[in-house]
Symmetry: C2
Subunit: 390 residues, 2 copies
Amino acid sequence: MEISDNYIYLDHSATTPVDPCVVEAMAPYGSEHFGNSESSHLFGREAANALEEARQTVADVLGCRLSEIVFTGSGTEADNLAIRGVAWAAMRDGRGRHIVTTSIEHPAVGHTVDQLRDLFGFEVTRAPVDEYGQVNVDDLAQAIRPDTVLVSVMMANNEFGTVQPMVKIGRLCRERGIVFHTDAVQAPGRLPLELDDMHVDLMALSAHKFYGPKGVGLLYVRRDTQLAPALTGGGHERERRPGTVNVGGAVGLATALRLVEEDRVAECARVRRLRDRLIEGVLASTPDSRLTGHPRQRLCHHASFAFKGVEGESVVLNLDLAGIAASSGSACAEGEPEPSTVLKAMGLPRDWLLGSLRLTLGRSTGEADVDRVAAVLPGIVRELRACCGG
Amino acid sequence: MEISDNYIYLDHSATTPVDPCVVEAMAPYGSEHFGNSESSHLFGREAANALEEARQTVADVLGCRLSEIVFTGSGTEADNLAIRGVAWAAMRDGRGRHIVTTSIEHPAVGHTVDQLRDLFGFEVTRAPVDEYGQVNVDDLAQAIRPDTVLVSVMMANNEFGTVQPMVKIGRLCRERGIVFHTDAVQAPGRLPLELDDMHVDLMALSAHKFYGPKGVGLLYVRRDTQLAPALTGGGHERERRPGTVNVGGAVGLATALRLVEEDRVAECARVRRLRDRLIEGVLASTPDSRLTGHPRQRLCHHASFAFKGVEGESVVLNLDLAGIAASSGSACAEGEPEPSTVLKAMGLPRDWLLGSLRLTLGRSTGEADVDRVAAVLPGIVRELRACCGG
């Protein structure tokens, strides 16, 4: 028996297990149908056909054209391609060097605009968020300048789950004629991906966040969006993303996306009920605890808390000892002793800042799991406060 | 029975089937040990351990330190990280904007230096090659300037198989104190990867070229090499390559690299004998045919030809009909009607330029396979010349 058999996994925003149906769909593209999709012989055509079928599956889910889909090596690469691609195309064409984003983006966006600023002479304006982590559309409107070439706002936050007012932001960008990018990595299976309603021009996804494989992402690129390649090489993916395409990975992403979308409404309702039960249980049983992020406009699977005078990472380690996988924030920032910049941006008081805990539910989560967390957590927090003189 | 069962695959430089042992090694990292290697809980530690074991395997093969290995999403991304990384670090530190490379690089290198030139103000000098596709070290030495920050020379060419004088080039770069990058994507299992003998500072590999999975590459980065990230995001891979690490892919790359290296000397000798038999058979049976690339200093598995007055792509299509997978050059440039810039750089006469054929052998190749090609090819070339008035 595996040690992990009785272990409760509540870190689905960090990554998810690959759906066995996805594993099965990918399997033929290893040793058997292994061709390079650029080759013109039988093996190449097999690979190209599988790749285009995967693209069609994605296009059907997103309601877009085949030519608007670019497979990448990760969600981070998709964000990089979107931001660098728009920025460099604008630089090349002399169309301005100003980017508007928010103070709560994932590092794939935040560090990318920082590098554009530090190395390539771009200017960046970060719109603030309110106490629930939501951007105000008027703030975004005020940040836009005549030389703004891109607005990048994440669809839903990985650390505290808040969903942004995408339709309003998209409408603003469309009215002003500015390209709108969104990091939607947390969204599939949890939010509808209505590209046209949101007026999104660029949207980044990552397969391993929705029961697909690691090492494959996707960028939706609305037709006529000017994009320079962020990486350069062969002419793959219509000259937008070079390198031999990971055909099995593309098949895996497409299969996973189709499956989470088919199941989205029912599964989201199920998980939301459990999530609310978890939130109520934790807040009722643990003194000096609060929910972070928006109470209602948040991802259906996402519960995030702050505990006064406790280190979140210590809570995570003690939950781990109790057989529960949780996170103190984003897995991408794990190990950093600094308080989360995202929580700071939300204006959380100083003595609460280090005490964040994220519990993200998924397909494997049942009622017994959330009840166990709500039962175990108060004791852990109490002991940490006692031993650390909190 | 699959249609491909009797089909002869001679396009191992485009891609290779994943070794069943590699498939097996990767399998646990899908649905079972699926953690994010940055997470601090049990699932995360399992993933981090698997990742570091894979890194150790690679370090053992390459004879380098763990910290010198960066897993990427492809060989192309590894080349991009090397070249952009050195260029941007130099730009940031005001150390010069000149790059030396050759006229026969893969687009992952060639198009990357082009973008650095066109968008970011770098200057690029391309050293020529001789009729065998080999760079002259004196030409490289002459190309180096006081503001040169990088020399990039591929270890062995994908289209015509020629191996470059790496030890001499590396020594030159070391003497001049210039960072030396090599695209070694064609090398594993075919050439020894002696990093210190070659004085290589940066070396890019791609797993799917040596019986590993698609969607994972590697950059060796010698300690103390100044490198800005080419993509930005989380702090993964010591701040050099962001994005959730594809743990299964890293395990697959490491396993595949270990297996091809263990078997390299014997398998290379076997394949070289078959390759020489193929070259002799084709040249003897097909009038107006010639070997391209170096007759001896070439990859052990690589045969490349030019046929006067014939289109290579037509030869490939007819071979495909005869059940043989071949290539007219690089899979990364497939579909381009232009004659290969690489063959032009080698000074091939005009009426031979379009008539290139690449046959690259591998583990599955036997004597009967190469004999069948040598038997079938002359008729195909003859008929194409007859029908097209060649």
